[in-house]
Amino acid sequence: MVKHRLQRNIQYGILVILGLCFLLPLFWILLASFDTNAQQGIKFPNFTLDNFSAVLGDSGNLRSFGVGIILSGGQATLVVLASVLAAYPLSRYEMRFKKSFLLSILFMTALPITAVMVPVFQMFLFFKLQNSIFATMLFLTSSSLPYGIWMMKSFMDSVPIDLEEAAWIDGASVWGGLRRIVAPLMLPGIATIAIFTFSGSWGNFFVPYILLQTPEKLPASVTIYQFFGSHGMVEYGRLAAFSLLYTMPSVVLYMFSQRYMSKGFSMGGATKG
């Protein structure tokens, strides 16, 4: 058993080292954001909140957060609406092209969206849609729709159809059944998809960078790049503070999604008893 214990300790040792490697880059950003004259290396800060107040005091930064919320929030809402609607017939009905449709959806979830950015830009140029937040939102929506539909369909498959049938017998329409029975029962699934979509879009740099131009319309993901891309003298402290504030929504939403996921689906019991 001595050998066994040694082995375990070695394993713990490796994990600690790997953990430290993963921690280090993040640790820097945390320290730098509280440091007025932060540098690129790790050093203990003379603690201050000045960086945060400077970032939050800038109306341009606040607007970029606002644009980000509008863009990602709008996208998440549209993805949820469209995919609930699409998932319903896919989950509940026999249809002729269902199988090929689902396969193409799955196929699309895996395609790298980077590959279509050039033609999408050309399309936006042609229809004079470039610099339109709404059109960008629509493109983002469709880029995450395949994943949304695929997930929503499997979530909906796990909602027992019996409940809906009971509602139909009581005189509910198909639409009524979807709205009043199915949708409320799959709230955890809907929340998960909304959160995933929002975070994915919140962190997306490439799409708004290509499709939007004027500084007032750029979301935080692009503003932050211009922050460290174009300023000759980089103010690391402020940039770190901006990064930290910008990362927060993703972290918080991830934690929420974990809660929803672990709750799982306890609706199976609803038909019994």
């Binding site: 820097w28 690129q40 469709s142 972290v251």
Partner: protein
């Protein structure tokens, strides 16, 4: 009870329309534009012409293109296959049956890198690898003189950055796969005197093979499309040292305004993506 559709297929309309406009049409456009001389400036901007396979002939003769394909391969193999897939597996394996609190702390640290948006990852990593950055500080403790990582080893830097950002996903996939292996199988093998290595190669890995293949395809596809991380860390440079296909495509289309050529590169990316995606679907063995 499954009923025949009574107009409910109309619910599909918004999704189908959106996918058609923003997904199918761009793909068709890629195929059409790739055979034109489309450009934003110069004479080609005024007279758009069908030029056949000209873009592709140019492309395969372009040393920049060939080296981009090579760099994309290096990036894929080291950051996706070796980096994320193997490191993720090692992490999941080591974390198995460890102290719950310890497991959770390591998990949170690794996942933090995954939850962090790509652009922030890029910024963290630029600082980490910079001349006065943390990495040089650390090697300084061992008496090694500082290295300009982003200039001397740019590819290594972006590969490490991508591993740092992406490994958590593989780790989580493997954790749930490993958790599903019945405990008694491995215990029985231990009692029969099998070494850890034998258990790993004859029992554990074969039992999670499905997840390994699926995860590998997904990670490869995801890494194939990586643009933000490389573009914001190095801009494809120094020179063209980190110019992978997506960055090359961006430079041709949006810096040199050679849209036709840029689209031809998109098409190559798209075809690679399509092939990988088909493999991925095959590996999933989906039932619909």
């Amino acid at each position: 009870m499954k009923r025949k559709s009574r107009g409910a297929f109309l619910f599909l309309t918004p999704s189908v329309l959106l996918l058609l406009i923003f997904f199918i049409v761009p793909i068709i456009l890629t195929i059409c534009f790739a055979f034109t001389n489309m450009a934003l400036t110069g004479s080609a901007a005024r007279n758009l012409q069908f030029i056949g396979f000209q873009n592709f002939t140019n492309m395969f003769q372009d040393p920049d293109f060939r080296i981009s394909v090579w760099r994309t391969l290096v990036f894929l193999i080291f950051s996706a296959v070796i980096g994320q897939v193997v490191l993720g597996f090692i992490l999941a394996l080591l974390m198995k049956e460890k102290n719950v609190t310890f497991r959770r702390i390591i998990g949170i640290i690794v996942i933090a890198g995954w939850v962090t948006p790509e652009i922030v990852v890029a910024f963290c990593m630029v600082a980490f690898f910079s001349d006065n950055g943390s990495l040089n500080q650390i090697i300084g403790w061992f008496g090694i003189s500082p290295v300009s990582w982003l200039f001397s080893f740019p590819m290594v830097s972006v590969i490490i950055a991508n591993i740092w950002h992406g490994t958590a996903f593989s780790m989580m996939v493997y954790q749930s796969a490993l958790d599903e292996i019945p405990k008694d199988i491995e215990e029985a093998a231990t009692i029969d005197g099998a070494s850890n290595f034998k258990i790993l190669s004859y029992i554990t890995i074969p039992m999670v093979k499905g997840s390994i293949v699926t995860n590998m395809m997904l990670v490869t596809l995801q890494t194939l499309g990586v643009f933000t991380l490389i573009y914001t860390m190095t801009g494809g440079g120094p020179g063209t040292a980190t110019q992978t296909l997506p960055v090359f495509m961006y430079n041709q289309a949006f810096v040199n305004y050679q849209f036709g050529y840029g689209t031809a590169i998109s098409l190559v990316l798209l075809v690679i993506g399509i092939v990988a995606s088909l493999f991925y679907m095959k590996s999933m063995k989906v039932k619909v």
